[in-house]
């Protein structure tokens, strides 16, 4: 409101008792709230009420809610359309089958128009929703490519393997760069370092074809 009144007036020399004031509006508009927060930003930066496990749990819950919501929207489309979109991303049918827990022939039938069970339909929608989330929110530009590359060079585990094992949150955290690749494998399989220790390696022969040989000593 205008401050015209505040600019004028007689200032008495006698001490004046503060008058009763009507409080400021209690209900803030969004902009008033934002300005208030900004004015206290210096204090805010030094205090966090959501720390450690609380923040992680909230973020995990929020990711699950986002995934469920996106899945519900996509599930309204025909399964054949959803599979076509997954195909356009470049996934192999055997990998899609593994992530969905079904056989490749089952996928072929669904592509041909046969309807899967309600749960399988949801799983197809969820897989597409998941790839969209890591692509759109975490800038994984080619989800299919990213998911079939080894997480850590020494172990043959890929995000596809983790997805097939139900470790969606781990993959999400990996895509969001919240955890390191090693931490992702630790979460998925704590024994991976021992399990995949091998004396063999793959090399390319002079004919251009790959072959297996004992690991060369360095």
């Amino acid at each position: 409101m205008s401050d015209t009144l505040a600019q004028q007036g007689t200032t008495p020399t006698a001490g004046l008792v503060a008058t009763v004031a009507v409080p400021e509006p209690v209900t803030k508009t969004i902009e008033e709230r934002a300005k208030s927060l900004a004015e206290h930003a210096g204090h805010i930066r030094n205090t966090t009420s959501l720390i450690g496990d609380d923040a992680a749990a909230m973020q995990l819950e929020a990711f699950r809610i986002q995934l469920d919501e996106r899945t519900a929207k996509l599930a309204k489309q025909a399964p054949s359309e959803l599979l076509a979109e997954l195909s356009e991303l470049g996934f192999a049918w055997r990998d899609l089958a593994r992530m969905l827990g079904v056989s490749v022939p089952a996928l072929r039938r669904w592509r041909g128009g046969e309807l899967p069970s309600g749960e399988n339909r949801r799983l197809v929608a969820q897989l597409l929703a998941f790839t969209q989330i890591i692509r759109d929110d975490h800038l994984v530009f080619e989800p299919a490519s990213w998911m079939e590359v080894r997480i850590v060079g020494d172990a043959p585990l890929t995000p596809i393997d983790l997805y097939a094992a139900g470790q969606l949150e781990v993959i999400h955290d990996l895509a969001a760069e919240k955890i390191t690749p090693e931490a992702a494998l630790d979460a998925a399989d704590p024994d991976w370092r021992n399990r995949y220790r091998s004396e063999w390696e793959v090399a390319t022969g002079e004919d251009g074809e790959r072959f297996v040989r004992p690991k060369t000593r360095r």
């Binding site: 055997r94 490519s145 043959p156 793959v202």
Partner: protein
Amino acid sequence: MTLDTFDSADDLYLARGEEVNPHRPLFTGDVFADLVIPGVIEDGMAMIVAHPCTFRAGAVLADRVLVARVVPHSKQGPGSWRTGFYDRMPLPDVSGTGQWVGNLDLVGRAVVTDLDATTRIACLSAFGVNMLQQRLTFHLTRAKIPTETFEEAFSHTFEEAELLEEWTDALVGGGWTITDATTAFEHFLRSESPTWQERLKEAQLRSAVRRACRGEAARLLRNE
């Protein structure tokens, strides 16, 4: 000392019975209902044990391919195959219910033209193929190579087979003959530099190859 094994029979197979796609190219691990194996007296089922590179050069198949006789076997749980029966490849429920095995000592070079798609009764999954290769290698050489290593080394051949199967499905569905579809696939696979076939060997490039392959098949169908 243990070899790798499966959790359930479904882990070993890509398809069985009526689910076997006749458009899938011949591949390691394919099981046929009735096949003559020169040098093997017994009749009956047989499975391809040769590496794909040894019997096909693109669309061109060799005259013969190394196969093994498939015989009935006493029922064994998955754990039994870790520490024994190294000369056999388990094929549980490959034809109805029951235990069969590929006997890796009863091998011979079958005529490729005898490997009829109509008599193919099972195709192995990638894990099944890798497990077969592990057991065959161990049986012949006592070298134990993890199945993951076979996957790393040869998964590109499995990728190629899957792409050809999908390609053939699409083009035959659009009126092409299998021969023409296969020829067109070979032409596509060897195009570009590096070729799409070369790129299949790199995991991070495979999705791009699949997209290009699917796009090319669609383009060919539109141009018909």
